[in-house]
Symmetry: C2
Subunit: 122 residues, 2 copies
DNA sequence: CTAAGACCTGACACTGACGTCAGATGCAAG
DNA sequence: CTTGCATCTGACGTCAGTGTCAGGTCTTAG
């Protein structure tokens, strides 16, 4: 498929796909005229990339651990694997942070509801 | 206390505090010479602001819901309260996203461990 | 008094993932 | 053939929170 279809199926912009390629996260075969062509598998790959971006990973970091996706063998030097574990832990810590923030907002919601209740039913 | 102490106690940069003030998230009294002075309470306020930033809220959004912090009464028009609930929900959704990303990484970790085990203990 | 360090304003730099525009080429349909 | 949409490269714009520098004032220890 061409870039437009991949973009539609993966739910990202064409611009983003070209950017991913530029960052070494995605590869494409080119037709004679220079147009990019992709296989169906790339859809899932793009979704994974998006998921990692959404989790706060940078292009560089994603690139560093993609070897673990492409060839989960001895080849991908320990670095990539270590990165992988590191990032998983970082995400866990981030979830903790978010939970604390949510708790703070919950307390605010409760406090405000209390004041409101007092005013609407005196 | 002056800005340097607040920065140290809240764990942020002086630059950030001035920025928060510029964004209407923080206020200060000024000495005759123009230096900012803060009360002890501001430490917690800055920590809350930081927590909200870390949770992905923008300055504008934080400013919009701060009325719920400062005066949890009828005064803070429903808008602020609605924002508050909205943001809490957004954070919940974000936590979901992060969990999914972590799961994806967990699967990768497992897959890679499997391959490694196979090689180290043939 | 004086030197060092904290503080002031104002402004520019940066980062990173994209938007967007320009100008050119490719391609499928009438 | 041509019309119109997809695609190409290349480049500049954006946004937001912060770093950083310049040039000046304030404060405090010795």
């Amino acid at each position: 498929m061409r870039i437009g279809e991949l973009a539609a199926r993966a739910g990202v912009s064409v611009r983003s796909l070209r950017y991913y390629e530029e960052q070494g996260l995605l590869t494409s075969t080119r037709s004679l005229s220079g147009q990019r062509h992709y296989t169906d598998d790339e859809v899932e790959r793009v979704r994974l990339i998006q998921r990692l971006y959404a989790a706060g990973l940078s292009s560089r970091t994603i690139a560093e651990l993609l070897p673990c996706v492409d060839s989960p063998s001895e080849q991908n030097s320990d670095e990539a694997f270590e990165r992988l574990v590191q990032e998983r832990d970082r995400i866990s810590r981030h979830i903790e942070e978010l939970s604390q923030a949510r708790d703070a907002l919950d307390r605010l919601v409760d406090a405000n509801r209390a004041h409101r209740a007092r005013l609407t039913t005196p």
